[in-house]
Amino acid sequence: MKQSLFALLLVVCFACQERNTPSEGVRIILPQLDCEQLITGTESDSNHAAYQLLCEATGATDQYAIAQAVDQLKVAGPSQTAAAVITSLLPEYHSLYRGRGPREANRLRTYLLAALGTVGVPEAALPYIVAELKHFNPQNKVLIAAAARAAGALTDRQALIVPYLSPYLEPGFPDEEMDLDEYNAFYPFEHPTYLKLEVLRSLQQTGTSAQAALSILHRVKASKEPSIYTRRAVLAEAVTAAITAIDPQGEWVAGTESPPTIEELYFVEEWLPLTERPDRPLPTVELESHRGQPFTFNEFEDKPFAMTFYYSSCANFNKCSMTVSKFRDLEQLVAEEGMAEEVNLCAITLDPRFDLPIRNHDYFVNRGGELREFMHILSGEEERIFQLFDELDVGVAHYEGEVVLHDIELILFDKKGRMVRRYSNTHWNEVQLIEDLRRLAQEDMVSSVQLSMEN
């Protein structure tokens, strides 16, 4: 579904970006990359074997073989094909991550992201880079550093990334030595680096487009880290280099930097008109609601609904905990807007083994959710839930029932249960979402007038 949707939108995506104004937020609609298609015609290329291995990689492919193929592409240097092939492996639902433990899957994804810093970054990688920087897990500094490295290699939209990079320079943000260039790393590292160093290099590469970071860079320069820090000298040098690259004339005065023109990126698919919505029935799986009752999507008949995903033991508070808080706000807004009778909201756990109905109930209530009639927190048998995720292309991978990787997603469905729009890799804007739900609630399925308007 996701592939076809992206394919349909491929043609219109660039035009869409032109049309949007900053006040609406920038809508970046990106094509799904088809790996096989990308490497067609590269048979004579010395990297073809590596491309092929990466395109055919699944959860059963040896992790070291994948790393070796990536290394080969890195040695060959910048290449659009290599960058696109690596980017095609980034979605969390990619079969590459299935059947791998969370550590291995994360390590692979980190290595792929870091490699983009060498081979180049296609625009399609932007949502993944921003998602890792924005919804960071402080426990996973290596992944953040890899995203920062990739951000530095962007050739377009660099300025948009700067607000997501700068916070990591705050003196209080923890850092540690790491190695992004060696997949099978040992201590001491062969290519030691730091998260902050990667951020600084990225800002340096961004150059004059990173004006928004000057304030914090000067602050970091003025601050005195204790002399015990082994990273101190390296970072001090990198701070100076970044400042020089961003402000070569040395004209910056505190408080005069222009704020980023766009505050937020929305990775939101284009609204699918009535005639283009895939006429596919909603999954018939039987789930279990937070009330402990059996649930099927038939209960949503004739009402549009929004569906999101979370799990209560998610260690990244910038992801699931935030998702639930945002969903609580949405619940509140739906009630305030008088739409309680017109729409439904549902959140499905990504971890059905652990998130039983009572836990789902408590998790939402503890975060201020009121669990009104139109709110449904769903769990169920593992097999059924995983089947549902497959049908909906949900960005999640599991191993031994444990969530390995997942993105943030919200899917909108119309009254007939057809997919209309997907918010991926970002938390939604409630106001925009309420407008979307209202529009769907008012949709008259047989109204030719509306059909013609949408077309």
Binding site: R100, G101, P102, R103, E104, N106, R107, Q139, N140, V142, G172, P174, D175, E176, E177, D179, N184, A185, F186, Y187, P188, Y194, P226, S227, I228, Y229, T230, R231, Y399, E400, G401, E402
Partner: protein
């Protein structure tokens, strides 16, 4: 009435004088303590006294708070000509300063990283450093220094230090340390820690990644200690479920302690199916009383809570299942321990 007033006044005066006396007592006690501590410090700082005398004098006093003394104690720690036991005693009293003073913090890290440091001093440095790793300083400012130090310890010639290094790193989500341990389990010639310790630390990571490599040790003939660690680590691994259940079988002749570990892990990992899993074991009359007790206690605890009981009630009557009926059969067991427990089970769940 007058006598009551007189009694009240007298008791008030008595209370007041008692309170005053208590306050004076406290003040005197504090002064005495300070004088004693001062005297102890004087002995400790006197180079003409023996090392044993100096160390013993300071023993009752855990911390030093006087700024001047703190400085003096730091100088003792930095003085490499000073005798090691004296340096250890000084360093121990500077517990709070290690996280506040970056020079002292760095120095403690340096002596910890150096395997040539005298043993007792290095051990003390490890204790101080481990404490700092849990403090605010360890959480934010100096965390990377702590991590670097513990990473160096993973290659230390002494196992105790390697163990500390890996434990800290694995608990702090260090991917490389986990990989090193997993590789050691795959290739014993590369192992930096013994198998039991490696499994025990890796299980702290709580990641399913290491299930397959630990699983290889579940039925390996490397002693019960290793197998016990493997069982504990594999509770959530579906592949290992049957192997762990099999360990419960009496016919296999596994040790009682190993069977108890297996039972504990099954109870924690499969609470809903636990009764069903252990029923065949309990049915066997040769099952040791310790296993019977564990299984019945665990299930009693579960069934005794209201939620669980409400599920079992039908028409206001508790419907016993196979596990219940089996436990009831043991009410007249020859073992007093078993029969008492079975009777208590019946009573608590209102069977009789």
């Amino acid at each position: 009435m007058r006598s009551i007033i007189i009694i009240l006044v007298l008791s008030g005066i008595a209370n007041l004088s008692f309170a005053q006396q208590t306050q004076e007592d406290y003040q005197r006690e504090i002064q005495e303590y300070q004088q004693q501590r001062q005297e102890a410090v004087r002995v400790f700082l006197n180079p003409n006294r023996s090392v044993a005398e100096r160390v013993r004098a300071l023993e009752p006093y855990a911390l030093i708070t006087d700024e001047k003394l703190i400085q003096q104690f730091k100088e003792i720690v930095y003085n490499e000509q000073e005798r090691e036991r004296i340096r250890v005693a000084a360093l121990r009293r500077l517990d709070l300063q290690v996280e506040r003073d970056s020079r002292l913090f760095a120095y403690v890290g340096t002596i910890l990283r150096n395997p040539e440091t005298p043993k007792v001093l290095r051990r003390e440095a490890l204790d101080r450093f481990s404490r700092v790793s849990f403090s605010t300083f360890g959480m934010f400012g100096g965390k990377d220094e702590i991590i670097s130090t513990f990473r160096e310890l993973t290659k230390d010639p002494e196992q105790e230090y390697r163990l500390q290094g890996f434990s800290y790193l694995v608990q702090n989500n260090d991917d490389v340390a986990q990989q090193m341990l997993a590789r050691g389990l795959e290739n014993p010639e590369e192992a930096l820690l013994p198998v039991k310790e490696s499994i025990s630390i890796l299980s702290l990571a709580g990641s399913a990644d290491y299930f397959p490599v630990i699983y290889k040790y579940l039925n390996k003939n490397q002693g019960d200690a290793v197998r016990e660690e493997a069982i504990r680590a594999l509770g959530r691994y579906s592949e290992a479920r049957k192997d762990i259940i099999d360990i419960l079988e009496t016919e296999r002749g596994e040790s009682e302690s190993l069977r108890l570990v297996a039972m504990g892990v099954l109870n924690a990992s499969y609470p809903r199916e636990f009764a069903e899993i252990v029923t065949p074991t309990l049915r066997n009359k040769e099952t040791p009383a310790s296993l019977f007790t564990y299984a019945v206690q665990a299930e009693l605890y579960r069934r005794d809570n209201n939620n669980e009981r409400s599920r079992k009630f039908q028409d206001n009557r508790y419907v016993p299942d196979e596990f219940d009926r089996l436990v009831l059969e043991y009410q007249n067991s020859e073992s007093v321990q078993v029969s008492n427990l079975a009777q208590r089970y019946a009573k608590r769940l209102n069977f009789n």
